[in-house]
């Protein structure tokens, strides 16, 4: 703290005297730019204490064997450093604080892969200048971006955790999963419909079969259908996607068989309306107003139609239970429905109810990864703060692992 002003003072007084005539840059090298598609060279040289904004660096390039050198860049000598955060520690092209310049191919000076190029630096201050030694380099495309190796490791580790937990769930599908509040209401809603002798309406959302939320919605439908079959209530499932409808038909049929009521199953429990958003909404609203279902389930992904559906449902006095991962629609479900499964709770509910090993395993695997990420965030923030306090970069060995590099 005391040193800083002193240093500044020295610079001010001794600046010009210190600098002297420009000197040739130390450790000047030309290398192929790492981790790129080729057609570019990188220049590296050591920083000098006398670098200043009045001293400029010019970059001169020539095709080797020496043709004429031509100037391609010029900048003050106190710029173009390797800064923390530009490169991860495992893929540094130069030491920290060194100068680094990427020289891409340009119309003025095209760079071809596999050909050697000679590069010289000209350091100039006022009327004085000095040339560096010429260095040679060859550009080449790379086969692997080492800066992104942490991304790959993350993907591989996640795959491992996922497969491991799915295997574990196959051995024991009854691992502990916490109770989800909205699910207690499912039973209640079905019970109430039975008492009142009114149907249950179940929507699977607007997504196709490749949506996670639709898959979860169909799994939950199976469980609801089982209870419905048991209570002998009517179930209605209007659809927007013919493929989802076909899948749901199978699922409901199976549920009725499992509940021991195959006779009660009807093909037209699942029916297709239209794939158009608002025609579908208007039709479902019509069903709500005419048949006054005692319970409405909205599971899966939704768009602007959500409010039109839930508002109409609420006006008929039905118990409404929603579950969606469409975060932009969640506020409307939360305000207009009696219970809402928020985001991942929808996936969790499907795993919880069905105990399907793949679903349970996925949920567990994601929990592990989530715990890991939470840990990284808390520990990382602490380390980053301590790093600032101690003025050290040592913690970057840990922090860089969780940064996104290009």
């Amino acid at each position: 703290m005391i040193l800083a002003p002193l240093f500044f003072f020295l610079l001010l007084i001794g600046g010009p005297a210190f600098a002297g005539p420009p000197t040739s840059p130390e450790g000047f090298r030309v290398l192929d730019t790492p981790n790129d598609a080729g057609k570019s060279l990188s220049l590296v040289w050591k920083a000098a204490p006398s670098d200043s904004k009045d001293r400029t660096v010019q970059v001169w390039v020539a095709k080797s064997p020496p043709a004429a050198f031509q100037k391609v860049a010029e900048f003050p000598s106190n710029t173009r450093y390797v800064r923390t955060g530009d490169f991860p520690w495992w893929a540094q092209p130069a030491g920290k604080g060194d100068h680094y310049l990427k020289l891409p191919s340009s119309p003025a000076f095209p760079i071809t892969d596999g050909k050697p190029y000679a590069v010289k630096l000209l350091i100039r201050e006022g009327a004085q200048d000095v040339w560096s030694e010429a260095a040679e380099g060859v550009s080449a495309p790379n086969y692997f971006n080492t800066a992104q190796v942490n991304n790959l490791v993350f993907v591989l580790a996640f795959t491992g955790v996922l497969l491991g937990s799915i295997a574990a769930a196959r051995r024991n599908p009854h691992v502990y999963l916490r109770r989800i509040a909205g699910l207690d209401a499912v039973e209640e809603a079905i019970g109430r419909s039975t008492e009142m002798g009114r149907p249950i309406l179940y929507l699977t959302g607007s997504g196709g079969m490749s949506d996670v939320s639709t898959i979860a919605a169909t799994v939950i439908l199976g469980q609801v259908a089982k209870k419905v079959a048991h209570y002998e209530t009517t179930l209605k499932v209007p659809h927007r996607d013919p493929i989802v409808m076909a899948v749901c038909r199978e699922i409901v049929k199976e549920a009725y068989v499992e509940a021991g009521r195959p006779d009660a199953f009807k093909e037209d429990i699942n029916f297709f309306i239209t794939d158009d958003q608002f025609s579908y909404t208007a039709a479902v609203d019509g069903i709500m107003l005419r048949e006054k279902p005692a319970a409405n389930f909205f599971m899966g992904s939704y768009f602007a139609e959500s409010l039109l559906l839930t508002e109409t449902g609420a006006s008929t006095g039905a118990i409404q239970i929603a579950g969606t991962d469409s975060d932009h629609q969640l506020p409307f479900f939360v305000t207009t429905c009696d219970y809402t499964l928020i985001g991942e709770e929808l996936y969790a509910a499907s795993a919880y109810l069905s105990r399907e090993p793949v679903l349970v395993g996925t949920l567990r695997g994601q929990d592990f990864s989530k715990a890991f990420i939470m840990g990284v965030m808390v520990i990382g923030t602490a380390l980053a703060t301590v790093g600032v306090m101690l003025q050290t970069d040592a913690f970057n060995y840990f922090l860089d692992l969780f940064r996104d590099f290009k």
Partner: protein
Amino acid sequence: MPDQLIPTSAVLGAWVATGLTLFIYSFLYKDNPLFKLGEHLYVGVSIGYSVVLVWYTVFFRLLWEPLMKDIAAHPAALGTYEPVIPALLGLLILTQFFPRLSWLSRIAFAFIVGFGSGVAIPRTVSSYILKQIEDTVTPLITMSANGLSMGVDLASPQSGINTIILLIGVVSVLFYFFFSVEHTGPGMVTARTGIYFLMIAFGAAFGYTVMSRMSLLIGRFRDLITFAGAEYGYATPVLLLVTVLSLAAWELATRRKTGGE
């Protein structure tokens, strides 16, 4: 301002647009034939529009034209016929219409879904996971000429205090979506914090959405006001009257019908 003559087509358009707008708004009273008419027209026109555009953009501009150009230039080169591959895969999708052949469409779906999944994985990890962790993990204090300090200005999004709040928010919401442990003891406190954070965000989103929906309404009303002018032949008031009268007639007719039963 001198009277500008509005072309007949625009006046006609104004009448059509106003009529359709009012038909759709009649849904606010209740579901009725006028609304259904407007709605089906809407679906029909948008499908027709998409068909025309797909035809010209995909089949003509991306497929037919380049193919013909390449065939004219190098009829013998193998690369010339490469656009045929996606066209064949596209045709496989259409086998969906023939139940006996529909399994062929799976090959095309496998191609699309496989590519989509593969492309998405590393990019999702990069943009939605690593980049988000990176921005959450920042030092709470800064080093300046005056030594170490922590920003306590709530108005500056990047200040130390906001960094802490952000961290608490992210961790507690993530914990709320954690299913392997019971929410008791300290877990319950964290999960409750998460719920409060969620509710605040949902409230904010609701408020923001109100703005969005109201803007749409403002846009439509502005058109209705424009079309109410004399230069458009008073389209809005006239059609409003027509709509209201037809609704009343329809209401009477249905009442009589149900009354008679």
